[in-house]
């Protein structure tokens, strides 16, 4: 599936998006954290996530199953206004 980073997450990852297979959201985040050492892991810790344009909300990341071809979006805390 595709993981798309926004704002501070994009800056920490160094890329706007990348393809990466994983069974659950937790696995995905662990994998990309290793691939992009540095701030990404810390930033991911305070991000919200969309899977297939649906907010993950309070669900445990390990329980969020990912299907091939879906898009995962990484949204840092909002800072509008």
């Amino acid at each position: 599936m595709t993981i798309r980073y926004w704002a501070a997450a994009r800056e920490a990852a160094g890329v706007a998006e990348e393809r990466q297979h994983a069974d659950t959201l937790a696995d995905l985040l662990a994998t990309v954290s290793e691939r992009h050492p540095g701030r990404l892991a810390a930033v991911l810790a305070c991000c919200a996530f969309l899977v297939g344009d649906v907010p993950v909300g309070p669900r445990e990341h390990a329980d969020v199953l990912l299907v091939d071809g879906c898009v995962v979006e990484v949204l840092p805390p909002f800072a509008g206004g």
Binding site: W6, A7, A8, E11, A42, V43, A45, C46, L50, D53, E73, L75, P76, P77, F78, A79, G80, G81
Partner: protein, 141 residues
């Protein structure tokens, strides 16, 4: 009758306070509360040169949903909110919220609620460019 969302939009171009004010005024309105958010030249003791706002594609839908939510639960006549994206300089307007109601109490309460809800629920981020050229995403923990 619930309040009407006259304007709820994310804008690339410069915002107009007058636009939002005109949108919520009317013969049945006795008071309009307006909030204008502008770019400050300092933050946390550091000089700020600019702010760059970025919006997620869902932001347009979210700002409408948030405005409708406020208009539905507050006894107001009309609401309008516009949020700017792009690179803004000091004193530029980043957000305008306006609420028209029969009385000022409801107008103020709904106006404060709307700007708070926009900041909490609309997927927008801002990168602060400091006077020394460095920059950082605000609130990125």
């Amino acid at each position: 009758t619930a309040g009407q969302v006259v304007i709820a939009a994310i804008r690339e171009r410069e915002l107009s306070v007058d636009e939002c004010l005109k949108a919520v005024r009317g013969p049945a309105v006795g008071g309009v509360a307006v909030f204008v958010g502008t770019v400050r030249d300092h933050d946390g003791g550091r000089g700020v040169a600019a702010l760059e706002y970025t919006a997620h594609p869902r932001a347009g839908g979210e700002i409408v949903r948030v405005a409708a939510g406020v208009a539905a639960v507050h006894p107001v006549r009309a609401v309008a909110v516009t949020h700017r994206v792009g690179l803004l300089g000091v004193d530029d307007i980043a957000v305008v919220v306006a609420v028209g109601a029969t009385h000022r109490a409801e107008a103020f309460t709904a106006c404060r609620r709307l700007i708070d809800d926009v900041k909490e629920h609309v997927p927008i981020w801002k990168r602060q460019v400091f006077a020394d050229g460095s920059s950082e995403w605000v609130g990125a923990c």
